[in-house]
Symmetry: C2
Subunit: 405 residues, 2 copies
């Protein structure tokens, strides 16, 4: 019943906002490109006759009225991207939600409960930390005032950027509380594609810990300063990064460690770095293992810093425990997929998602469709139209079933 | 006979060009600040009635005529600085040379040979590589055409920048060839200050090898990509950096290794780096050891890259063998220092200097004065006025002696 071609077309259309030359999208949260993407998506919502609310952190929730005035069955995701993002990450979940509403509306279907489609602010965490910031505020996990004070790498304040693009809304987040939340998303990892499975039934989301370590040493001459007399902030950081990698290997396959950002000051070939700032992204499906990885990493970083006579500062940019989704909803997704004759696999999500925040306030679950070669946060991110259609079809069935309950 | 107060004042005056807020100087080669510094220094040269020549790479040579038209006894250094430089590095050698001429001129002394004072382009190597680029071209070690094509980190072409600031001169480099070359410089290292010695008698300069390693991997999602399936360019770079440090420790105290610059693309917390570009600065007084360090480092980097499924590209930004200065000139400097009742120490230079290039075409030598705490390439770089005066006095005596020969 879902019109797959129309859904894919809408992904292409939204992908024009912040399009990179050649392919891919650069639509960091609250940039002009994000505003363009938001405006376009809002216009779609209004065209469908949905009632739109924007809350204080810029989350947008559009509602298609039900037969009764009950808490809504909600779906959604995000439309911000990383700097070198693809067309699908987040966007699919929002546009599939709108395609669900479009399908209901065209067929004159009015379910018992309202259907809501949301997009949440700054899910990626690429511009402001933590990731899933909008949905975190939505569920009351962070005070709005704190979130508005977040700053990007260039010092821009989230609240100012939100006002600048005209998305500082008046509504209180999560009012009213939804009945349930479904999120369709690309897997962003290689498991489904490698195993040739059509639908991922997501059981939960692994824990995420983001740290920023800042080392302060002393700049000095690379040719005249004996190794033993250096206070090399860069070396402390780079040795810590190498350790993060060894740590992941030692703790086994479920422990992930990524140093995606590292900046040196003054960043010159013959000057010992006075300052090094790096991020560490640690993930594990096991909360205890994740805590252990964090502890070991910080101990090693501290030891490196001391050995190099360097001061170290630690900021926790994100710290989310592993989340288990609602078993009834998860089972339902599996059932609908099988009823459509699709192959399924139960798996945890490697990436963080808005659904993991929504799970704090209502029964939540996710549907994954395969990512070609597991690529994501990469301009070559790709999911075939067929898989997109299957995912959206399951979303439609799961939401309708829940909305009639 | 040198007027120490006047020399120190001129260091402060030149330090106003490109001054950083608070203290220190940012006068990268061929920037507007460098132009201001050059203009100021040229005005000093003209005031002293010296004949000024600018060559094709922007080296400036000012000559104070001798009684006979013979090859000149030359001194000089550079006035470019690193991004966070001090007042003394390079500047001292140029301004002490001008103070020598001022002293001769005021006292009506006209030596047999001309006295030349030079400042060479882009000695620091902080903006364009290699370091000592101007003096390298001056001595015929690099074709002018090649040097003009050098590009800075933002892609600006050296030749364009030189023309932009009006310092693309017409003279052929090193015409005429000097009789000899002396360079007064701050030590930039901790040896003299720690040992309480007043004058460093520089026997030579250690070998310098600068490499740029560029790793090309694949950007992907930090949460969904298993460690074993990553092509993490950043991790290859950071593991190589950590190895450089271990290598220096293993090869012993004379081997130095510095990773001063490292840049990741896209440089985001949750995206595996697609590209990492790093510099390695390797130095050793022993040419064979330096070659071995380079070989081991590149082998390790290649192994890291292969292990991570990452491609690696190597550029050699600078590659200078250790240099031994002229023994007669070195002995003379030691003799003049002792005659003034100063304590001396023979030592190699850790930093590269223009004198090491001039040594290719004429007898050359250097005088070091202490650096407080060995600090250099740091805004807190400092040498007391007294030491500056001693250094300049020895320069005067050594040059006069040679100029009468
Ligand atoms: N889905 C997604 O890419 N979220 C960004 C947060 C994360 O790094 O997992
Ligand atoms: N003297 C000096 O700092 N020269 C720059 C080249 C080097 O790094 O040694």
């Amino acid at each position: 019943r879902i019109d797959t071609a129309r859904l894919v077309q809408s992904l292409m259309d939204l992908g024009r906002m912040g399009a990179l030359p050649g392919k891919g999208v650069h639509r960091l949260a609250l940039t002009d490109a994000d505003k363009a993407g938001r405006d376009w998506t809002l216009a779609q919502m209004r065209e469908l006759g949905m009632q739109v609310r924007i809350d204080g952190i810029g989350n947008v929730v559009a509602t298609y009225a039900g037969r009764e005035d009950l808490p809504a069955v909600m779906t959604g995701s995000h439309i911000d991207t990383v700097r070198t993002g693809g067309l699908y990450d987040g966007n699919l979940g929002v546009l599939a939600g709108l395609e669900v509403v479009r399908t209901l509306s065209e067929n004159g279907v009015r379910p018992r409960r309202p259907i809501a489609v949301a997009f949440f602010t700054n899910e990626e965490g690429a511009r402001f930390q933590p990731d899933m910031l909008g949905s975190l505020v939505y569920v009351g996990g962070m005070p709005l005032e704190t979130a508005l004070e977040a700053r990007d790498a260039d010092g821009a304040r989230l609240g100012d950027e939100l006002a600048r693009i005209g998305y500082a809304g008046e509504h209180a987040p999560a009012a009213p509380r939804p009945d349930s939340f479904f999120e369709l998303h690309i897997e962003q990892g290689p498991v489904l594609h490698r195993q040739g499975v059509q639908i991922g039934v997501v059981e939960g989301v692994q824990g995420i810990c983001w740290l920023r370590l800042t080392f302060e040493g002393k700049s000095n001459h690379a040719g005249t300063t004996p190794m033993a007399l250096r206070r090399d902030a860069g070396m402390s950081a780079m040795r810590t990064a190498a350790f993060a990698h060894e740590l992941a290997a030692r703790l086994g396959g479920r422990q992930l460690a990524t140093v995606g950002s590292l900046r040196l000051q003054p960043d010159l070939v013959n000057v010992i770095a006075a300052q090094a700032s790096m991020t560490v992204d640690l993930r594990n499906t096991d909360a205890a293992m994740l805590a252990r990885a964090r502890t070991e990493l910080l101990a090693h970083a501290q030891a490196c810093a001391e050995q190099h006579g360097v001061a170290m500062r630690v900021e926790t940019l994100a710290d989310f425990d592993p989340v288990a989704f609602d078993t009834a909803l998860v089972d339902g997704i599996e059932r609908h997929a099988r009823a459509l004759g699709l192959s399924t696999l139960r798996l945890p999500s490697g990436a963080g998602h808005d659904a993991q925040m929504l799970a704090r306030i209502c029964p939540s679950a996710m549907i994954f469709v395969p990512s070609l070669d597991g690529l994501s946060h990469n301009v070559d991110e790709y999911t075939p139209a067929e898989d997109i259609g299957y995912g959206a079809q399951i979303l439609l069935r799961a939401m309708l079933e829940r909305a009639e309950r």
